[in-house]
């Protein structure tokens, strides 16, 4: 190849690559991003009916209930004003406990319970998912700072 053709090839490949990048990312992100909703939005019915989304909040004190010997369980998420009952089947993350900020991903069921496919708690006792911290702040709650 002459240098000129070579440069054309390089530029062509790069542009082609970039076009591919943009096309792919727009398509993929449109389809697959998970949206986060506040608990008051869930209470107001602003969530999509048949799409998975994420909710977050604090685990309400004493709300964890499980059928003895079974992996099915239920707990309540709260932002101190609104509440949402979450149903989940499986193993909970290590740092799941009362008062911990967690995020659940799943769908809203017919009965108003949130059926979670995944429950996430971060590996740090002081950690508050930023989404949850925002929600709590909107509800006028300030998490206690540790010194």
């Amino acid at each position: 190849m002459t240098p000129r053709q070579q440069r054309m090839l390089s530029v062509g490949l790069l542009l082609g690559g970039l076009a591919l990048v943009s096309a792919l990312s727009i398509g993929a992100f449109k389809e697959n991003t998970g949206f986060y909703f506040e608990l008051d939005q869930v209470a107001a019915g602003d969530t999509p009916p048949d799409r998975a989304f994420r909710v977050g909040g604090l685990v309400k004190e004493g709300s964890l209930f499980r059928e003895p010997g079974s992996l099915e369980l239920e707990f309540t998420l709260t932002d101190t004003k609104n509440e949402l009952v979450v149903a989940y089947t499986g193993v909970l993350p290590d740092l799941f406990r009362d008062g911990q900020g967690i995020i659940a991903r799943g769908q809203l069921g017919e009965d108003g319970r949130f059926v979670a496919e995944e429950v996430l708690a971060k590996h740090d006792e002081n950690y508050m998912p930023p989404e949850v911290a925002d929600s709590l702040e909107r509800q006028g709650y300030k998490p206690a700072e540790e010194g």
Binding site: M1, T2, P3, Q5, Q6, L9, S10, L13, L14, G17, L18, L20, V21, L24, S25, A28, F29, N32, T33, G34, F35, Y36, R54, R66, P68, G69, S70, L71, T89, G90, V91, L92, D94, L95, K122, H123, D124, E125, P129, P130, E131
Partner: protein, 648 residues
């Protein structure tokens, strides 16, 4: 008193870094030999004072000096000594100090290794590294001082995050940082070349081993992190597309592209401006990674420091570095054009494709990582990009790349010899297809088109990588050490691919409730829970399960997964029980006490997962061989001053 000395040492190091960053560059510009000669002594002195500061912080951890805020927050008298040392880089301030120590270590390595280089080149490279030291030292001194005192020293510290109390953590961050920061050397060489306007094949020969060295450490660091996440996060995944993992992976992709591009620049004198751009990109992505981790703008298990001031500082530093580098690039790169040509089937074309695909992959991951930030900033809601998206956008460019590797490594430079490659290696294609179709079906009893494609990609690379070494073993080919390294590294890519495809296609995972005496059957293994008892460690109490694994009648292993409760931080940790062989891992993690004597457990069968980390090790070893090739050994040779004119 001693911690204050640490801070003074950092201040002196800062001033020395200013000297190291300014005088050699000015000297090189004016061709003033005296000023240029300041570079090495300044670099050594800066290293000395940084090492003193680091040593003082380490001794504060070893001696449990809880009057230091950083020590009190991240250590505890009950913490074993090894973890007290690792705790130095267990959180933000100390890990920045480690960053600086590693940067100055690379700098003195360059100072030693550059003695055969022309004076202005060495002075410029060391000078640019000095400027980077100025930035990071200022960051530490002004926003993240590890030597801050508490008014009242607590009796005991808050302990290191239990998640980080693991032998792999002792080496994972240093490895990763050595890799990250090592890319600054390639960056400094690129800036030096643009400042002088001289970029020839010799330049690529100097830059290449440094880049490969950084890449080797980065590879090991990422692999260690993945391995650690696999057994320590407790749930058996090996890659989560977590923003911080992405932050280490993007520089890796860019560095991989960079040393392939450097190969073309060294051998053929081509792709010069592209190589420069990649060197800038790789280091900028390292800095971006630091920003993402340190500013806490992203939701991640690693984001332990959330301080806006830090975020702004790094963002400003990042901006200055990228802006200056790109401005210099725009000004200088066009004059570096070269005139050589090559055939469309030559190795140059394959390396070009390699670069395009790697950069596409890095770009897609970058977009995916920043997408939630951008969307939120635009007020369009809070979104997250799931692993499925990353997997998809990663596989699309990488799959063709793996197939191209097998051909590209056998084609010749400039002319290309596809006919000959086809004749010589077509059997590899046949064997690959046969094994990829029959293998998974025979071993795992399933036929899935995507698996066949994935396994073909991996096998193709493996066979293509061993073909020449095997011929060499029989005396039918000769290989330099660098070539052996290249083939070995590609073998690592193949092993990794096979491992990743097999484990994601045939891995099994089940969550179950189980009580003593009951068993679970997974993939033909019977796993029986024999009992649960209490145990204690130095700074935790645990519930420890005993599980016997049987295959048919034969008992093959006993596993002891634990649920630990670290008493100081009152946090729970899952320690998985793993029975590992090259063919498969069996993985048991305990969940919760379900109240009636039964426990929830997660049992996983992970075929060939070890190949993932083995592949990474093999890649790193290949890189190591390539660096030690005889042509990179330091030679004292005066460069002809005429070399510059030829390029223009």
């Amino acid at each position: 008193m001693i911690p204050e000395l640490g801070q003074i040492a950092l201040l002196i190091a800062f001033m020395l870094a200013v000297v190291q960053g300014v005088m050699p560059l000015v000297g090189a510009h004016r061709n003033d030999s005296v000023w240029m000669q300041v570079a090495r002594p300044a670099a050594f002195a800066q290293f000395g004072f940084v090492a003193i500061a680091f040593g003082i912080l380490t001794s504060a951890f070893i001696n449990n000096d809880f009057s230091l805020q950083y020590v009190a927050s991240n250590s505890n008298t009950a913490l074993p000594l090894m973890f007290r040392v690792a705790a130095v880089w267990g959180a933000h301030e100390g890990s920045m100090l480690l960053w600086i120590l590693i940067l100055s270590t690379w700098t003195i390595a360059v100072a030693f290794g550059s003695r055969s280089l022309p004076e202005p080149v060495a002075a410029r490279v060391i000078g640019v590294l000095g400027l980077l030291s100025v930035g990071t030292l200022a960051f530490t001194l002004f926003t993240s001082n590890p030597f801050l005192r508490l008014d009242i020293a607590p009796v005991d510290g808050r302990d290191l995050n239990p998640l980080l109390q693991d032998p792999a953590l002792v080496i994972h961050p240093p490895m990763l940082y050595i890799g990250y920061v090592g890319l600054s050397v390639a960056f400094a060489f690129a800036i030096a070349a643009m400042l002088s306007g001289e970029l020839d094949r010799q330049w690529a020969r100097w830059t290449r081993p440094w880049t490969t060295a950084a890449w080797v450490f980065l590879t090991l660091g990422i692999a260690l992190g993945s391995w650690w996440a696999y057994y320590e996060l407790g749930w058996g995944g090996w890659w989560f597309w977590d923003p911080v993992e992405n932050a280490s992976f993007m520089p890796w992709l860019a560095a991989t592209a960079l040393f392939h591009s450097l190969a073309v620049t060294e051998t053929r004198g081509l792709f010069k401006s592209w190589t420069l751009l990649l060197a800038i990109m790789a280091f900028s992505l390292s800095l971006l990674g630091t920003f993402l981790v340190r500013s806490g703008v992203l939701v991640s298990v690693h984001a332990f420091a959330s301080d806006p001031a830090r975020g702004y500082f790094i963002l400003a530093f990042l901006f200055v570095v990228i802006f200056c580098a790109l401005a210099l690039y725009a000004w200088r790169a066009p004059s570096l054009d070269s005139q050589a040509g090559f055939q469309p089937t030559a190795r140059e074309t394959f390396l070009l494709l390699n670069n395009v695909l790697l950069v596409v992959a890095a770009t897609l991951i970058l977009i995916g990582t920043l997408y939630p930030l951008i969307i939120e900033h635009l007020g369009m809601g809070k979104v997250s990009v799931g692993p499925e998206v990353f997997e998809l956008v990663f596989i699309i460019p990488m799959l063709p790349l793996t197939f191209l590797i097998g051909v590209g490594m056998h084609t010749t430079w400039r002319t290309g010899n596809l006919d000959q490659v086809w004749k010589q290696y077509r059997w590899i294609g046949a064997v690959t297809l046969l094994v990829a179709i029959a293998g998974p079906w025979l071993f795992y009893g399933k036929f899935m088109p995507m698996t066949v494609i994935g396994v073909s990609a991996g096998l193709w690379v493996i066979l293509a990588s061993v073909a020449t070494p095997v011929r060499a073993a029989f005396g039918k080919a000769t290989m330099t050490r660098a070539q052996t390294g290249m083939h070995l590294a590609h073998l690592g890519v193949g092993l990794f691919t096979v491992g990743a495809v097999v484990v994601s296609s045939f891995g099994l995972e089940t969550d179950r409730a189980i009580r003593s005496g009951q068993s679970i059957t997974v993939a033909g293994y019977d796993i029986t829970m024999d009992g649960i008892e209490d145990g204690t460690g130095p700074n935790y109490v645990a519930r420890r399960g005993t599980f016997t694994v049987k295959q048919g009648e034969e008992s093959i292993s006993v596993l002891y997964p634990e649920k630990r409760n670290y008493t100081t931080q009152v946090s729970e940790m899952t320690e998985a029980g793993i029975d590992a062989t090259l063919a498969r891992d069996l993985f048991i993690a305990m969940g919760d006490d379900l109240g009636d004597g039964s426990w929830s457990v997660r049992v996983q069968y992970k075929p060939m997962i070890r190949l993932i980390w083995l592949g990474a090790l093999v890649m790193a070893f290949g890189g190591l061989l390539a660096i030690t090739d005889v042509r990179y050994r330091a030679r004292v040779r005066k460069r002809k001053p005429a070399a510059k004119a030829v390029e223009a």
